[in-house]
């Protein structure tokens, strides 16, 4: 169990670093969406189903949509 959790945390941190590195903002947003999604799984492991639901529906889904809309209206690539 703890190995699995550690693996999830590791993937989450890698995704966050990917969000830092990617020049393509769309990819960076998808990476940060992955961070939120994994965080919501961790919330579930931490016995917080309410928060997991909120994070998955608001933090991962809606915010990503808003980000994508904003990127479509502006520039896709970081200079």
């Amino acid at each position: 169990m703890i190995i699995f959790v550690s693996l999830l945390v590791l993937i989450m941190l890698v995704a966050a670093i990917a969000a830092l590195i990617f020049r393509d903002l769309l990819s960076a947003v998808i990476a940060s969406c992955l961070v939120s999604l994994l965080a919501s799984i961790l919330f579930l492991f931490l016995q917080a189903p309410d928060v997991a639901m909120a994070e998955a529906s608001i933090g991962a889904a809606l915010i990503t949509a808003v980000f994508v809309i904003a990127i479509r209206r502006t520039d896709r690539y970081e200079e």
Binding site: I2, L13, A16, V35, A39, L46, G59
Partner: protein, 119 residues
């Protein structure tokens, strides 16, 4: 192994906080900065939830008989995080709207190129 047991959530949470802070402080693209804010928020939320966790606890919901109050994890941080997630959404949406306006007015999101925005 017990090190991981004790600290893995804290490591995850503060890893996210530090990466988020680093993105905010080092990147010049506004949307990237906002991505950093969202990662920072997620990290803080994870930290708050881990503070309230009790080993081998159950979720604080009396959904089936046989659950006892002593085994439940602390509900307060969960309530706080619900609030903080919603606040995060509000700030991020507003920031993105401002970014769109800024792009329309200046034609760029690069904070270096935008006149008075010196840090």
């Amino acid at each position: 192994m017990s090190f991981l047991q004790d600290y893995v959530y804290y490591i995850g949470a503060f890893g996210l906080v530090l990466i988020g802070l680093f993105i905010i402080l080092s990147r010049r693209n506004l949307i990237k900065v906002i991505i950093g804010l969202s990662i920072l928020d997620t990290g803080i939320n994870l930290f708050l939830i881990s503070v309230g966790y009790i080993s081998k606890g159950t979720a604080p919901i009396f959904s089936k008989p046989g659950l006892v109050a002593e085994d439940m994890v602390d509900p307060v941080p969960q309530a706080l995080v619900l609030t903080s997630i919603v606040i995060g959404v509000a700030v991020l949406a507003l920031a993105l709207a401002l970014a769109m306006r800024l792009h329309k007015l200046h034609g760029t999101l690069d904070l270096r190129k935008i006149g008075e925005l010196k840090w």
